[in-house]
C-alpha cells in the first residue's frame, strides 16, 4: 500500500519506511481462497440476510435503490448491482448473433442437463458442504434458450432466498462451448405475487469487452399467460414462463454494464396477457 507520508510530514522518509517495515500483520496472501475463508463465505451466503445487524457501519453518503445480493461464481467478476462476467468468458459480441427475441423449445432432458451444468458451475468455486447443500437442493425454475445460448434460472431449496442465473452456450452433448457466467443471490425469500402481475428481480448483466447481455427473471402471477418485455435495445422480447416464474435475456451494448462509465440499464416495462385475454401494458 502507498503510504501518505511526504516531505512536509513531521516524520522523515527513513522513519516512514521503518514504520512500514514494522507492520505486525502477517497474512498468507492465499488466505482469501483458503478453506476457512470459503467456509465463511458459504455460511454467509446461506445466512438469513434479514437477521439482526448488531454492528452498524458508519453513515454513507450514497443514496441507493434496493437491489438484490448477487455473487458471481467466476473470476474477475464484481458485485455492484449488476454483475459483469469475465471478458474471456462470453467470447465477444458476435457470440450473441444467434440471439432471437423469441425462445426456442428445448426438451426436458436438455433442460435438466442445463440445470445440472449450472449447479456444477456454482460449486466450481465454492464447493463446501454448506454450498453443496444449498446448491444441490435448488430447483430448476426455468430454462430459456435463444439461438445457441441457454439461460438457466435456479432457486429455492433449503435456502429459500437462494437464486442463480447461468448463461452458457452448449454443444449438442451439453458441454459448455462458451460462457461460464453465472450469478447467485442470497437475498430474502420470495413473497407471494398477485395473480395478474409479475414480480421481477433486479436484472443481472453478463458483459464482455465488446458486448453484453442483460437478464431478468422473477415470479409471474397464476393468471398471466404471456410476458413481453419492452426493451430499449430490441423492442419487445418474449419471456419464457415456467413453474410460476418468467425470465428472458437480450444483448445490450458493453457500455451499458460499464459501471461508473456508462448508463446503467434501465428497468424495462412489461406487457402481460392474462388468461381472460386482458392485456396489461407498461407494467414496471
Amino acid at each position: 500500500m502507498t503510504a501518505r507520508l511526504h516531505h512536509t510530514d513531521p516524520l522523515d522518509r527513513a522513519t516512514g519506511d521503518a514504520l512500514r517495515s514494522l507492520d505486525p500483520a502477517n497474512v498468507d496472501p492465499q488466505v482469501a481462497v483458503g478453506p476457512r475463508a470459503q467456509e465463511t463465505l458459504a455460511r454467509i451466503l446461506a445466512s438469513d440476510v434479514s437477521g439482526p445487524t448488531t454492528t452498524m457501519p458508519v453513515n454513507t453518503r450514497w443514496a441507493r435503490r434496493p437491489r438484490r445480493r448477487w455473487v458471481v461464481a467466476g473470476a474477475a467478476l464484481v458485485a455492484v448491482g449488476v454483475l459483469i462476467a469475465a471478458p474471456s468468458m462470453l467470447g465477444g459480441n458476435t457470440a450473441f448473433a444467434s440471439w432471437s427475441p423469441t425462445t426456442k423449445v428445448i426438451t426436458p432432458a436438455e433442460a435438466a442437463l442445463a440445470g445440472k451444468r449450472c449447479k456444477a458451475e456454482q460449486l466450481h468455486y465454492i464447493n463446501t458442504a454448506a454450498a453443496r447443500e444449498v446448491v444441490g437442493s435448488a430447483q430448476i425454475r426455468l430454462v430459456d434458450r435463444r439461438g445457441a445460448w441457454t439461460m438457466v434460472y435456479l432457486g429455492g431449496g433449503v435456502q429459500p432466498g437462494y437464486e442463480v442465473i447461468c448463461l452458457n452456450e452448449y454443444d449438442s452433448h451439453g458441454a459448455v462451448l462458451n460462457g461460464g457466467g453465472s450469478a447467485g443471490s442470497g437475498g430474502p425469500g420470495l413473497s407471494p405475487v398477485a395473480s395478474d402481475t409479475v414480480a421481477p428481480m433486479t436484472g443481472v448483466g453478463f458483459g464482455t469487452q465488446s458486448g453484453a447481455t442483460w437478464c431478468v427473471a422473477g415470479q409471474v402471477g397464476s393468471d398471466v399467460v404471456s410476458v413481453v418485455i419492452n426493451t430499449i435495445e430490441h423492442g419487445p422480447v418474449e419471456a419464457t414462463i415456467q413453474n410460476g416464474y418468467f425470465a428472458a435475456w437480450w444483448p445490450v451494448p458493453a457500455t451499458a454494464l460499464d459501471i461508473g462509465k456508462g448508463p446503467t440499464p434501465v428497468g424495462p416495462t412489461y406487457t402481460l396477457t392474462l388468461k381472460d385475454g386482458t392485456i396489461r401494458t407498461n407494467i414496471p
Binding site: 500500500m1 502507498t2 503510504a3 501518505r4 507520508l5 510530514d9 513531521p10 516524520l11 527513513a14 522513519t15 516512514g16 521503518a18 514504520l19 512500514r20 517495515s21 514494522l22 507492520d23 505486525p24 500483520a25 502477517n26 497474512v27 496472501p29 488466505v31 482469501a32 481462497v33 476457512r36 475463508a37 465463511t40 463465505l41 455460511r43 454467509i44 451466503l45 445466512s47 440476510v49 434479514s50 437477521g51 445487524t53 448488531t54 454492528t55 452498524m56 457501519p57 458508519v58 453513515n59 454513507t60 450514497w62 441507493r64 434496493p66 437491489r67 445480493r69 455473487v71 458471481v72 467478476l77 464484481v78 458485485a79 455492484v80 448491482g81 442470497g186 459501471i259 461508473g260
Partner: protein
C-alpha cells in the same frame, strides 16, 4: 469479487488489533454484517475496502464491554529485533536502521491508541484521508488533524527515546481488546 479482493487486507487490519487466532473470526463477523448491509457497499473498490474496515472496527469495539469499552483500539507493532534479524544481514549502516526501528517501536508503544490508529490507517493500510475517516466514523478534516498530531507526537517521542543498542524486545505489545 469483493469478498476475495478484500479478505486478506481485512485479516491484516484485524490482526493488528487482536490476537492472531481471533482475527478470522472477527473478519467473518464483519463480512456477515456487510452482507446484511450490502446495499450500502460503495461501488469504488477502495471505498468498499474502507467501508469494510469500518465495519470490522465497530465489530472490534462492540466486543469490548462495560468499562473496557473504548473509542479506539490499541495496535500492535512488530518486534523490531525480529524484523531486523529475519530479513537482513547485519552490516555497517544497518545498525542505524535497527536502532531506528527499536526507537520507533518503543515510541509507538507510548502513543495513544487514537494516534496509533491514525498512523496505521495511513501507513499500513494505505488509506486516503477520506477513507480513513470513514473507518473511524469521523470527518476527513478531523482525521487529517488527528494524523498530523499523531505524526508530531511520534516525532517527539523519537527525539527523546534513546536508541537501544541491544536487541531488547521492548516493541512487543499485545493490544487485544478481547
Amino acid at each position: 469479487m469483493v469478498y476475495e479482493a478484500t479478505y486478506t487486507d481485512l485479516v491484516r487490519f484485524v490482526q493488528r488489533r487482536v490476537h492472531l487466532t481471533h482475527a478470522e473470526d472477527i473478519v467473518a463477523d464483519a463480512f456477515l454484517v456487510a452482507w446484511r448491509r450490502f446495499d450500502d457497499l460503495p461501488t469504488d473498490a477502495g471505498d468498499a475496502r474502507a467501508w469494510l474496515f469500518g465495519i470490522a472496527q465497530r465489530t472490534l469495539l462492540n466486543g469490548q464491554r462495560g468499562d473496557r469499552r473504548r473509542r479506539a483500539l490499541t495496535l500492535r507493532i512488530a518486534d523490531a529485533t525480529m524484523v531486523a534479524q529475519s530479513g537482513e544481514t547485519w552490516r555497517g549502516s544497518d545498525s542505524e536502521l535497527v536502532a531506528r526501528r527499536l526507537d520507533l517501536a518503543a515510541a509507538w508503544c507510548r502513543l495513544a491508541p487514537v494516534h496509533q490508529e491514525a498512523l496505521s490507517l495511513a501507513v499500513w493500510d494505505g488509506l486516503t484521508g477520506p477513507q480513513a475517516a470513514v473507518v473511524l466514523g469521523i470527518s476527513p478534516v478531523a482525521f487529517r488533524l488527528r494524523l498530523t498530531r499523531a505524526r508530531r507526537v511520534l516525532r517527539r517521542y523519537l527525539e527523546v527515546t534513546p536508541a537501544q543498542p541491544s536487541p531488547a524486545p521492548a516493541a512487543l505489545r499485545e493490544g487485544s481488546p478481547s
